[in-house]
């Protein structure tokens, strides 16, 4: 049985869909952290079967749009003095900026690189998004 201690002050991102923990880890650039970080993959979950968890021993800025995009059912707990002082409720974002990048080679974003990549939510259930410029529809993190 793998054991990771509780943290005194920081952030716990729990109930991440199994398999997506590394994606969140990389997006938050936690590989560059000079504080304690734990990524637990495929932990047992009564509700989900298995889940990923990230424990960060520091209060850092987190892009909640990105987390909501990956998995709006994940939970984010802000920890102080060993206790949860705030729970952030995640939502599937209506608009995401510079998180998804358009892969349509016909899109203007393939040749002009100085402006934001903006995508708008098309279907909340499917988590599909539409490029603001070319209307290409993508599903970056399917709801499986």
């Amino acid at each position: 049985m793998l054991e990771i201690n509780s943290i005194e002050r920081g952030i716990v991102i729990d109930h991440i869909k199994a398999g997506y923990g590394m994606t969140v880890f990389n997006y938050l650039h936690l590989e560059n952290a000079d504080y304690n970080v734990a990524l637990i993959m495929n932990a047992f979950s009564l509700k989900m079967g298995k889940k990923d968890i990230i424990k960060i021993n520091e209060v850092i800025d987190i892009n909640y749009d990105f987390l909501g995009l990956i998995d709006p059912n994940a939970t984010v707990n802000i920890i102080e003095n060993g206790k949860t002082v705030k729970k952030v409720k995640l939502e599937v974002p209506e608009t995401v900026t510079n998180i998804i990048h358009c892969k349509n080679p016909r899109c203007v974003t393939s040749v002009e690189h100085y402006f934001d990549h903006v995508f708008h939510l098309v279907d909340k259930e499917k988590r599909s998004y539409r490029c603001e410029y070319c209307d290409d529809i993508v599903v970056p993190y399917p709801n499986k």
């Binding site: 899109c107 393939s110 100085y114 402006f115 209307d135």
Partner: protein, 307 residues
């Protein structure tokens, strides 16, 4: 209010705003001389990064017939684009000289992106295989002049529905009106893009069919909108050659159409409409081209806040 707005996509204006444009276009057709000085002192910039005959000339003719003037380029290599200048910088510069601009670009979304960097009104004159809203204005004005209104009609779209920006814009526009039905006739590889099918047609509950033959369906159509297979959008020449001649409208196929079915085409055509159809009174594609100038005159006036 339409003054200083941009028209990039048919969804940018409401039905009422489009009605203003069409009403003015009908008035201009009835008495063009009355509007011959409406844009005196104003300048239209035409920025055509892709080839054009009808769209560029009709924009330029529209502005000149309104008493205004025109500057611009019809070939990107004659501008600082050849030196690597960005679209944003080009538009910001043009804004220093002109009151309104019309832009055609091969990359999808280029006019939308450009509109974020300027204050002056900008018109999308066609962006890649994506949208062509002023062609839609032309098409709708033509439909109104032939049949009175767009409602309660069956529209057939034939040819390259994947890269056919005029199809995308027209479908998007028509989907806001009651009683329309679409029949999409194309090879499977050239069907309408997913966002048109899912976000526009299905979401609005519009009855439609996707088929790969013309003859069985022509008797149902009020309008048949023919399109050219867009060679310039293909990355693979072999695919283009395989698909380009799948649907050709000729005199024999016209016998399947009703006496009141009209044939539209945004032009240019290659061979998808045989020249033997040109003298059929149901062939309206050259009238479409003429209507394009008048509706662009109305659009320019509205975006400049003149009427």
């Amino acid at each position: 209010m339409l003054k200083n707005r941009c028209l990039i996509d048919p969804a940018d204006f409401t039905r009422e705003e489009f009605r203003e444009i069409f009403d003015l276009a009908h008035q201009i057709i009835a008495d063009p001389e009355k509007y011959s000085k409406s844009c005196e002192g104003k300048i239209l910039a035409t920025l055509f990064y892709e080839p054009s005959t009808r769209t560029r000339f009709s924009f330029e003719a529209a502005m000149l017939r309104l008493g205004g003037k025109v500057i611009g380029f019809s070939e990107p290599n004659s501008s600082s684009t050849a030196k690597g200048e960005s679209i944003a910088d080009t538009l910001r510069t043009i804004e220093c000289y002109a009151d309104i601009a019309a832009m055609r670009h091969p990359k999808e979304g280029a006019p939308r992106m450009a509109s974020h960097y300027i204050q002056m009104p900008l018109i999308n004159a066609g962006d890649g295989g994506h949208q062509h809203p002023t062609q839609t204005l032309t098409d709708i004005l033509t439909i109104e002049r032939l049949r009175g209104n767009v409602e309660n009609k069956t529209y057939g779209f034939c040819g390259d529905l994947k890269f056919g920006r005029t199809v995308h814009s027209l479908v998007k526009f028509l989907s806001n009106y009651e009683g329309v039905k679409f029949i999409f006739i194309s090879p499977e590889e050239l069907r309408v893009p997913e966002y048109i099918r899912e976000e526009v047609v299905k979401k609005k509950g519009i009855p439609f069919e996707e088929v790969d033959q013309m003859e069985p369906y022509m008797g149902q159509l009020d309008f048949l909108y023919m399109t050219r297979v867009q060679r310039e959008r293909f990355f693979n020449e072999e695919d283009y050659i395989r698909l380009k001649d799948r649907f050709i409208l000729d005199a024999e196929k016209m016998t399947y159409a009703r006496p009141d079915t009209y044939i539209l085409h945004p032009l240019p055509r290659v061979n998808e409409i045989s020249t033997e159809v040109d003298n059929d009174p149901r062939a309206q594609y050259f009238n479409q081209a003429r209507n394009g100038m008048y509706v662009r005159m109305a659009l320019i006036c509205k975006l400049l806040g003149i009427y």
